[in-house]
Symmetry: C2
């Protein structure tokens, strides 16, 4: 009988070609023009699962983009994991900053460049490869595995909660093993134990009912661009601390243990600044850069626009100005309450002569932290040590995995992050890439994970683990 | 011999068709993709002049867009006017706000809708029509007329100064009669005696060297959108007064006479607000709305942008943010100095962690005011009274005619505004239109102007008029 790892090695080239096909599909979930592409990607994933031998794969419709599910649950008495990932991707903008077209995968220096390759297409393909290797060599998996791949992660998973709620029994598991998340660094294996929450809002400031000539009308009316700049500027103090009243109320303080762990990590501001090309760090005083990234809440503008933004000049006093905001939250901050605080702040700071309105299509998710002694973490630690010959470091995540909140509140289970993307792979930015050696390392680690989990006692994973 | 006005009337439909052909040419001078269209418009104007009987019409190359010139100078002993207009237009953005396509002229309710029809294609066609009517009926014009139509008015006429300087002798005249400018209102004839100056700048705030994920990096670095909002907000105080140090130094105060003239005009804030669709007026306290529009300087944002501005959300911490500014100036304010003051202010307000740079392709023009007793004004007053049966009101202009500054400094002559566009015709905005009855009224008025000017004594127009 062929060994699982040998099978994986023998099919490595085929799997790379598969990955290339997958990333060619522009499954941009934020853009309604790509609705059919998103569906095409879902279909691609379901077909890939069936080819792997997970025969009940299905494309499930939702009120948004589809959810792909599949399961193999014949390992009697063994633990059950719910493998999570997402097949949707961020928009490729600004397209002109890409060195190769975002949806034409291009290999350079052992990296594959394409939109979505790191977030999350390559990482989510790995457990499918590994399931296939077990099923085609041994005929069975060491543990029970359910798959759940969504197409709305990049828009905040607005329909996943309803789907999970409606299918709670079918999705029941001991914990979630997430192929989304990303390793902190390329050179050291890490385990992520927290993610920040998210709260998004978009608003419009309206002045005159139509665009006006700024020469003729300038000076007589409030310019929505001036108003929005003042409103946005009021959201932070000069040191970068959020100036919205009560924003920090109840936010979990950073424990001494986490401060010590974080301080011990191999991280230096100078190297970080060189890497991101910034001249200086900036933000809340009293915290290190990593503390601010992982364990402190933020309020960030993601977009700000109004008036004429093309080449040359156009002397317009515009009718409207717009801003997009996302906050990152920590435990103790409720997304809906934070949003309400910001809305109240902006209302109170709306000057005379303009009006304020909010876009209602927004989303939020609470922050997440897995208990230190969770068995899924212990197995992850051992699996990573098998592949990388050293114990992983424990890190936080600045980004958000809103589904952790969903899985905890609906299914009552925790989420273990086990992704082989690396945080520097330009996700959500031009020239996103994935390190191809990780495609095999990840497969080895998922193999070790399934085997390691099979060796734990069922009681340790039966949902009785402590939860924060 | 056919009468001049009868000739005009008989050719009205042909001239309207001509206007439609003219506005179909998208001569957008700010956009390099329309370079050939701008040239096509210049060629169209030259051909139209030749058809009118002004046989020396020529398309003159410059370092930018071409200048069209022509002349008829056989009225010995009569005054000479230099007729000015421009054949370039503003960009049509936002195109989706137009009720009919911007470059497909569409007639509704006696108005012709098209980009550039009011600013300045219909008004500049009128004197060509009138010259033709004189030449084809009487065989000569009552005065000497030179034509100068430029293609860079909407970008601040950057090459017109050099062109006028190099052709000063050829363009010599007693004064300029401008077909650009616009009447204040549709129901009352007005004479414009001042225009504000202009100074433009565009700047970029740069943070990280590339777009970053706002979850991963937010809180660690300064977000260029936050920085630009703070910088822009610092440019005004809360009451709308410009907060740049020394901005108002030397600005000509509004005289008691002008305050009285302006207060006597039929203008009401409520009607104005209803017309432009704004909830309130806003700006420097101590001045009326018209005073702020015509006789006080401003600093207006025309564009502000950065980050993700498409549909949905994208959690990006952008690398750059941008802003476009134009100021309107009054006599006593030097455009270059004002620009330097704003640059210094922005430099002083650039926070840690971001860098500031300025776009160098900017332009400026001093404010303008014609002496009250200029003969060209007197003739204009009489010509308007002939057509409209009432004396015109005296008004200021909020916008800028940078060429006044050029003509005064290079040719030593003043500019009389004599346009039949109206200020409410959505110039620089979607659904620009021109009132078609003005196309004939304007032709009658230009006919009366040329005839009236011929009756003045040569000495009154020979460049000896008082200048401010």
């Amino acid at each position: 009988m062929e060994d699982v790892l040998a099978y994986l090695e023998r099919h490595h080239e085929r799997d790379l070609a598969d990955l290339q096909s997958f990333v060619r599909i522009p499954s941009v979930s934020t853009d309604s023009r790509h609705r059919e592409d998103v569906r095409r990607a879902a279909q691609w994933v379901a077909t890939r699962l069936i080819d792997a031998g997970v025969t009940d794969a299905a494309v499930n419709d939702t009120d948004g983009h589809p959810v792909v599910t599949a399961s193999w649950t014949f390992a009697e008495g063994a633990p059950t994991v719910l493998v999570y990932g997402h097949y949707d991707v961020q928009p490729p903008d600004p397209v002109d900053r890409w060195d190769s077209p975002p949806f034409e995968p291009t290999e350079r220096d052992g990296k594959l460049f394409a939109r979505g390759v790191s977030d999350d297409k390559a990482p989510m393909l790995i457990p499918i490869r590994v399931a296939e290797a077990f099923l085609k060599t041994r005929g069975h998996l060491p543990v029970n595995v359910k798959f759940l791949f969504e197409g709305e992660e990049e828009v905040g998973s607005p329909h996943l909660g309803d789907f999970v709620r409606a299918n709670a029994e079918r999705l029941a598991a001991d914990f979630v093993l997430s192929a989304d998340g990303g390793m902190w660094r390329a050179d050291i294996p890490t385990l992520t134990v927290s993610a920040r929450g998210l709260c998004a809002l978009e608003f419009t400031v309206r002045g005159p009912g139509k665009d006006l000539h700024s020469g003729r009308h300038g000076g007589a009316l409030h310019n929505p661009l001036h108003a929005i700049a003042q409103m946005v500027a009021s959201l932070h103090d000069e040191e970068g601390r959020v100036a919205v009243a009560h924003f920090y109320d109840g936010a979990l303080a950073i424990s001494e243990a986490i401060r010590a762990d974080t301080a011990a990590l191999p991280f230096h501001d100078e190297a970080y600044l060189a890497d991101v090309g910034a001249s200086d760090t900036f933000g809340e005083s009293g915290y290190s850069t990593l503390e601010r990234q992982w364990y402190r809440p933020t309020l960030e503008l993601n977009g700000l626009w109004g008036g004429y933004i093309g080449e040359g000049s156009k002397t317009v006093l515009p009718s409207e100005a717009h801003a997009k905001i996302t906050c990152r939250l920590v435990p103790g901050q409720d997304p809906a309450r934070i949003r309400a605080l910001i809305e109240a702040h902006l209302r109170a700071h709306t000057p005379r002569g303009v009006t304020l309105s909010f876009n209602k299509d927004d989303h939020g998710a609470a922050a997440y932290r897995i208990p230190d002694d969770h068995v899924g973490l212990t197995v992850a630690r051992e699996a990573l040590e098998i592949v990388y010959d050293r114990p992983p470091l424990v890190v936080g995540m600045g980004g958000s995995i809103p589904i952790c909140d969903t899985f905890r509140s609906v299914l009552g289970i925790d989420t273990v992050f086990f992704s082989f993307a690396v945080g520097d792979e330009n996700i959500h930015a031009p020239n996103e890439f994935f390190r191809l050696p990780r495609f095999f390392e990840g497969a080895r680690a998922w193999t070790a994970y399934f085997e390691g989990l099979a060796k734990t006692s069922p009681s340790a994973t039966s949902g009785t683990v402590a939860r924060a």
